[in-house]
């Protein structure tokens, strides 16, 4: 018992030292504000950062090639793999693909109205 007590004390002290020396914990410790910045000002800065992050997120959604682009009448050259290296600038129209889903053919006088092309590759 006499031997166990010093080991326990030493272990506890070492553990406490490790916890408080860890960078994450150290950063959470209250620190002196060298610039004298008030808590209110810090909150204001944080709010600005959050607003910026939100705005960036919106931009990503618009330009990421999701639903908005699929519905667009045309895409900028280089906007996706189909057009990379096109180098002609302007707008490139992507044909409506028929990948098994029922898609109406164009009204060019060759197809029976209401028909649906069927395709198979073996």
């Amino acid at each position: 018992m006499k031997l166990a007590f010093p080991f326990l004390t030493l272990g506890s002290a070492f553990g406490a030292l490790m916890v408080f020396a860890a960078p994450g914990v150290a950063n959470t410790m209250p620190q002196a504000d060298p610039a004298g910045q008030s808590a209110e000002a810090q909150l204001h800065d944080l709010a600005q950062l959050l607003q910026f992050a939100e705005a960036e997120g919106e931009d990503d959604d618009e330009g990421a090639g999701d639903d908005d682009e699929d519905n667009a009448p045309c895409l900028k050259a280089g906007g996706d793999d189909d057009d990379e290296g096109e180098g002609e600038g302007g707008c490139v129209v992507i044909p409506k693909m028929n990948n098994g889903a029922p898609v109406a053919p164009p009204d060019n006088g060759l197809f029976e109205s209401g028909s649906t092309p069927q395709v198979k590759v073996d």
Binding site: I94, N98, L110, E112, Q118, V121
Partner: protein, 156 residues
């Protein structure tokens, strides 16, 4: 009763020609083992004077390659909307593409010709690799291609 029969006969007479106008046609294209990437194929029709009538199918969705389907490109001016809704995936070497379309009867035995342009990345273009008249007697007969297409046939 007579009135009912007469009405039935009249409606049948009016609707039957409409059904007869539709003709399901299957185009079967067997590709060679040419040792390259997937082939782009443009199926289109010209009339008796050789004028472009319309497109039937485009195998390959990357529009940057369409200019290599040179006869189709020249006939359409590269108008991608011509293949809206009738565009599918490109076809690999050795693969067989089967397309079934409901085509109008008027296309057959009236001087129309089916053209197939073929193109493969980094390989020579093959415009009008297949040119066949659309006729009832031509159905079911194999036609040999020149470069990328081994055989082509249409059945109806």
């Amino acid at each position: 009763m007579k009135k009912l029969l007469a009405t039935l006969a009249l409606t049948t007479a009016l609707t039957m020609p409409g059904f007869a106008m539709a003709k399901p046609v299957t185009f079967t294209t067997q590709l060679n083992s040419y040792g390259g990437n997937n082939a782009f194929l443009a199926f289109y029709v010209t009339d008796a004077s050789g004028a472009y009538k319309g497109s039937l199918w485009m195998a390959g969705g990357r529009t940057r390659y369409y200019r290599h389907l040179s006869d189709w490109d020249q006939a359409t001016g590269g108008d991608v909307s011509q293949v809206d809704g009738i565009t599918g995936a490109s076809v690999g070497q050795g693969q067989q593409l089967s397309i079934t379309l409901d085509l109008k009867d008027a296309l057959f035995d009236a001087g129309y010709q089916l053209h197939i342009d073929a193109a493969v990345e980094d390989m020579r273009d093959s415009p009008s690799e297949i040119v066949v008249p659309l006729t009832a007697t031509g159905a079911g007969q194999d036609v040999a291609g020149k470069r990328y297409i081994a055989t082509f046939r249409y059945d109806m």
